[in-house]
């Protein structure tokens, strides 16, 4: 079946971009600067509080129409919408994980005279990232499923091709959708394994007090 490459490239691009956004926004919400904190807080609430498909339509139809902003290609409009949406959710994981590193770790790092940046880089982040991994894996699986929405803005992913095929072979509709489900599941399997591995990793090497 064609379309798998579109689904996979949309997924990879959205995942990379959304993790990046998650870290930027997660740190933004922990910033000492009140404007950065409020701004990222606003971003997170807006993108968590509205539906992904509406955001997708915004990037695809509304932004070009209203402000004449064209996000390069259809592909990037879709990727940015998914990444902004999931980045907002995952920024909360980044923030929560950093905050949940035991207070004693920060204190020990201070007692060794580390700078604020060193405390974060050497002590807090390595532990926080281990806590983030399982949740990041869960969101990756969700993101895979969310990529099916891009068929609605004309990207030719698995679902799009399936729909096209079904419209010409109406009697095969059930078979087509079963096949699509199987394809998504096969794609999700390695991600599920990845998440399990991440859970194992995260259970090691984190201070538990």
């Amino acid at each position: 079946m064609q379309g798998i490459n579109i689904t996979v490239t949309v997924l990879i691009a959205s995942a990379v971009l959304s993790y990046l956004i998650a870290f930027i926004a997660g740190f933004g919400r922990l910033s000492n600067n009140i404007f950065i904190r409020k701004f990222t807080g606003f971003y997170v609430e807006v993108f968590r509080g509205t539906s992904l498909i509406v955001q997708l339509f915004w990037f695809y139809y509304a932004l070009p129409g209203l402000f004449d902003i064209h996000l390069a290609t259809d592909f990037w409009a879709a990727v940015i919408a998914i990444a902004m949406n999931y980045g907002a959710y995952m920024s909360e994981i980044v923030r929560g994980s950093i905050l949940s590193v035991a207070k004693g770790q920060r204190e020990a790092a201070t007692a060794l005279n580390m700078s604020r940046f060193q405390r974060m880089r050497l002590v807090i982040l390595p532990q926080a990232v281990r806590m983030m991994l399982p949740e990041f894996g869960n969101y990756l699986i969700q993101m895979l499923k969310a990529t099916s929405l891009v068929s609605l803005v004309g990207l030719t992913d698995i679902l799009y091709h399936g729909d096209v095929f079904r419209s010409t072979h109406l009697s095969l509709a059930p078979t087509v959708y079963i096949l699509i489900l199987i394809f998504y599941f096969i794609l999700a399997l390695p991600l599920i394994w990845l998440t399990r591995w991440a859970e194992k990793q995260s259970s090691k090497g984190v201070a538990s007090e």
Binding site: A102, G104, Q105, E107, A108, T110, A111, L112, N113, M114, S115, R116, Q118, L122, V123, P126, Q127, R130, K204, G205, V206, A207, S208, E209
Partner: protein, 256 residues
């Protein structure tokens, strides 16, 4: 007394409405071993946490080796210290915590090496050598590549001491370092502290409930009560010959 390495001058500390320290004046001489004793809530831990810059005094000053710790001089006036100033002054201070606070994602050798390399810029090879020596000294030379989760409480606390010592502080602070340990593990940790104390050149401030141990290694015992220094003197004066009722009722709890 030689020029003191640390001086507290009328230091107050409040947490919200509660004033836990009500004016502390205290001088610590280089190489002096001071034991802080007192009932829980008397503020003894807060005293050393302020010296480690983990807690900011509400008022008063602390001077370390001739430099203000929590203040900087600017145009002849004292202003609150910034992060850079704190880093510069606290470099001479090390601390061991009640709950060890080892870094769980690093082996015990890495725990000891990380600060010399990153904070002091010691070459990796030398940092490694210093760390191995120190870990051997605390009796853990055969566990270099173990992770903290594989160690007993007593071993963890010995790693924590080695980690602080490789930074070669002029003052070491011990915050109830045996309180979280199983009774049978207390001895091995106290033994290491005794060894360090015997070497002599470093000042040590110990918050402790181990009275026999305090008598053994301290040059001076300071009794804190309700946020004030109520008594201080040699171990004999404070632990055996005091006439203070509060102190004696506190000490009686440790006699069996």
């Amino acid at each position: 007394m030689a020029k003191p390495i640390a001086v507290y001058n009328d230091v107050h500390k409040s947490f919200g409405e509660v004033e836990v320290l009500k004016g502390i004046d205290l001088e610590i001489a280089p190489a002096e071993k001071v034991a802080l004793i007192g009932p829980s809530g008397s503020g003894k831990t807060t005293i050393i946490r302020m010296l480690m810059t983990l807690e900011q005094p509400t008022s008063g000053t602390i001077v370390v080796d001739g430099q203000y710790l929590w203040h900087m001089e600017k145009n002849g006036e004292l202003v609150p210290a910034n992060e850079k100033h704190l880093r510069q002054v606290r470099g001479d201070i090390g601390m061991v915590f009640q709950h060890f606070n080892l870094f769980p994602h690093m082996s015990i050798l890495e725990n000891c090496m990380v600060a010399p390399i990153n904070v002091k810029g010691v070459p990796k090879k030398e940092a490694r050598q210093r760390s191995v020596e120190m870990l051997e000294k605390v009796g853990l030379g055969d566990k270099l590549d173990d992770y903290p989760s594989q160690l007993s409480g007593g071993q963890k606390q010995r790693v924590a001491m080695a980690r602080a010592l490789v930074m070669r502080p002029k003052i070491m602070l011990f915050d109830e370092v045996t309180s979280a340990l199983d009774p049978e593990l207390v001895g091995e940790v106290l033994e290491v502290i005794r060894d360090i104390a015997r070497e002599g050149e470093m000042a040590m401030v110990l918050v402790t409930h181990e009275m026999d141990f305090a008598r053994d290694i301290a040059d001076r015992v300071v009794f804190l009560d309700e946020g004030r220094i109520a008594e201080q003197g040699t171990p004999e004066q404070v632990l055996e010959n005091s006439e203070s009722e509060r102190l004696n009722s506190f000490l009686s709890r440790f006699r069996s």
